[in-house]
């Protein structure tokens, strides 16, 4: 009887100890991390595509938040106007033509305002350059200028290295989502001091029949040299510019 009492006492103590164990107060929260290798895309999807339009803008260092706000204000209106233009595309009534004309004029003014704030701006279309994706040892951008007098030809850079899809690690990479990487290079040609290499990180924004529209960033290499409008060479450009690209047949 005494032994039984002792066993009971031990059992009660053990139960009491178990009850002292802390219970979780809340359910574990499920991580919302995206899969790091969830995208498998091939550049061959874009084979023989040509650049319809390319727009790159870079800025000087040490912009204040207010100066950046001005830049984004301009680009937001530009984006909005482009959307409106696209929405009335194909309409040939007078009202639509008039609206389109006003929007195009407004965009030209916005681009001028942006170019005044920028250190480097490149803006050309298929009429100025013939750039297409070709498969040699790897997929690369091959360009031939058509209109060398375009003042926004960016010094006619050529593609270097492979054009490829990159699926970055969202934790360790500055860019979080998959992007198309295109590298452009402009070699030094005296007397013009302009010489740069930059990486375009482009994300597919919209696909229409025969056309893919990309938006993203332009990351110039730190040893790149750009030229101000007054002809002064500048190194140490702000490392995150803006890029827009349209690919089509």
């Amino acid at each position: 009887m005494k032994k039984l009492d002792m066993k009971s006492a031990i059992l009660i103590l053990m139960l009491a100890l178990t009850a002292c164990g802390k219970k979780n107060e809340s359910e574990p929260v499920t991580s919302t991390l995206p899969g790091r290798n969830g995208v498998a895309r091939s550049v061959s999807e874009l084979k023989h595509k040509r650049i319809r339009e390319l727009f790159v803008v870079l800025f000087e260092k040490n912009f204040s938040p207010e100066e950046w706000k001005f830049v984004f204000d301009q680009t937001n209106i530009l984006s909005s106007n482009k959307k409106k233009i696209r929405q009335i595309e194909g309409l040939d009534d007078d009202a639509s033509s008039e609206i389109r004309g006003k929007l195009i004029t407004e965009n030209a003014g916005l681009l001028t305002a942006l170019s005044e704030k920028s250190l480097f701006m490149m803006n050309w279309s298929i009429q100025d350059e013939n750039c297409k994706l070709s498969l040699k040892d790897f997929w690369q951008l091959v360009c031939k200028p058509r209109n060398i007098n375009n003042p926004l030809n960016g010094g006619l850079p050529h593609g270097v290295g492979a054009v490829e899809w990159v699926n970055p690690d969202p934790i360790t990479s500055v860019t979080k989502t998959p992007y198309l990487r295109i590298r452009l290079q402009r070699d030094l040609e005296e007397p013009m001091p302009l010489a740069y290499q930059m990486e375009l990180r482009l994300k597919e924004e919209r696909i229409t029949e025969g056309e893919s529209w990309f938006k993203g960033e332009a990351l110039p290499m730190s040893d790149s040299v750009f030229v101000r409008q007054d002809g002064t060479p500048v190194t140490g450009v702000f490392p995150y510019g803006y890029a827009e690209l349209t690919l089509g047949n």
């Binding site: 006492a9 929260v29 979080k176 994300k203 924004e205």
Partner: protein, 412 residues
């Protein structure tokens, strides 16, 4: 002989003291005495505790998960980006988001446990002098998760981006926000593990017990000891900062006394520990508000961290093989002193303030032993087992969870 056996089984607990860096309410049931000459003792003490709640440096009991829960302001994001901060600020301002607005909140959960096993081996040099060696092996288990919950303001901002043909920018922002905590940890040189399980050694301790008084009604002893820097896992990438030992050479002295009235025993002890200075890697806060300790210095001269511990215990002895104990335990660890040349002295000062800890706890236990039966020929081996629980009452920088302790001992 009987008295010495009874005494010796409890001395090992003295040897298996609070060797891990995290202060917890582990208890040592005190009894004076040591092994008879030529006898060997082998024991394992198992300690288990949850890691859910900790006492902060201010003394509040706080869930570990609460360290992950925080509101994120636009300003926080902007200030965390040394290169792109102004650009991001401009983008937010251009889209109607004020820098004081809330981007959202990180909601996290963190649960875990610590399991310690402390093997002890003891030898009776004489009937009044014994040597004991213990080496803690600690297992840490942690599960952590988090998610980012966008504020209404941020949802509106992202919707505006999508509406203006900037879906990819909105997506980039969403991913950046949902991975913001891990990105921050990565940039600060931490490893983020949702499931952490590691087994590490603590600091080994050699104890010499010298019995001073061995009468029935009053017994006392002194116990000098040496701490050897055997602790492994000195990684500075561990986000949780869980350490199994200081990895510093140390010396200490303990005095214990026991008074017995009939079947009641009153025990008390005082232990002082001094740790010698050593050069070690340390994490430092970038400023007084940095709780993440983003900076890292591999060569910090660490001194101080001395400790004092006191206990009082009352034990009720059943006539043959059962004892019930109740005790109070107080531990104090003073701040460490850090110096280094990599950063400003202020940063080492900020870090030092977080190093001290203290804990006042109580415990209850039941112990069973077969020594009496062994002496009477009823058992093959003299052995003992004890099961108990320690309950923290107040503390600072210490584990605020109950600790369950199980111990088995055999004599040879």
């Amino acid at each position: 002989m009987k008295q010495l056996f009874l005494s010796a089984l409890l001395v090992l607990l003295v040897a298996s003291g609070d060797s891990h860096a995290q202060m917890m309410s582990s208890y040592l049931r005190e009894q004076t005495g040591t092994l008879p000459q030529g006898r060997i003792l082998i024991s394992v003490v198992g300690v288990q505790s949850s890691l859910d709640r900790m006492f902060t440096k201010e003394g509040d009991s706080k869930s570990l998960s609460s360290n992950l829960n925080r509101e994120v302001k636009v300003n926080t994001i902007v200030q965390d980006e040394p290169v792109r901060g102004a650009q991001l600020a401009g983008m937010f301002l251009s889209n109607g988001v004020d820098l004081a607005d809330t981007v959202g909140a990180i909601e996290g959960s963190m649960t875990g446990s610590v399991n310690g096993k402390v093997p002890v081996i003891g030898y009776g040099v004489t009937d009044t002098v014994g040597v004991y060696l213990n080496l803690p092996v600690i297992e840490f288990n942690l599960n952590a998760n988090y998610r980012f919950v966008q504020s209404e303001k941020m949802k509106a901002f992202l919707a505006k981006l999508r509406d203006s043909d900037q879906t990819s920018v909105a997506k980039e922002f969403e991913v950046a926000l949902s991975t913001s905590l891990e990105n921050k940890l990565y940039r600060s040189g931490y490893e983020w593990n949702t499931t952490l399980k590691k087994n590490v050694f603590g600091d080994a301790r050699i104890n010499v017990v010298k019995v001073l008084n061995s009468g029935f009604s009053f017994q006392s002893q002194v116990q000098p000891f040496v701490i050897l820097p055997t602790a492994t896992d000195l990684s500075l990438q561990d986000l949780y900062g869980l350490k199994a030992g200081d990895h510093r050479l140390g010396v200490g002295l303990k005095y214990a006394a026991q008074k017995q009235w009939s079947i009641f025993q009153f025990n008390t002890s005082v232990t002082a520990t001094h740790l010698f200075p050593a050069q070690q890697g340390r994490r430092l806060p970038k400023d007084n508000a940095d709780e993440l300790n983003e900076y890292l210095d591999e060569q910090v001269w660490v001194a101080g961290g001395d400790q004092l511990q006191g206990q009082v215990q009352m034990r009720y002895l059943f006539p043959r093989w059962v004892g019930l104990s109740f005790g109070l335990d107080w531990k104090q660890r003073w701040n460490e002193s850090w110096s280094g040349s990599k950063y400003s002295p202020d940063l080492y000062g900020y870090a030092e303030e977080k190093t001290g800890s203290s804990l006042f706890s109580t415990y209850a236990s039941i112990d069973l032993n077969s020594i009496q039966s062994f002496l009477e020929g009823g058992f093959l081996f003299p052995a003992a087992a004890e099961l108990g629980v320690g309950l923290p009452i107040v503390g600072r920088n210490a584990i605020a969870e109950p600790v369950i302790q199980l111990q088995g001992t055999m004599f040879f």
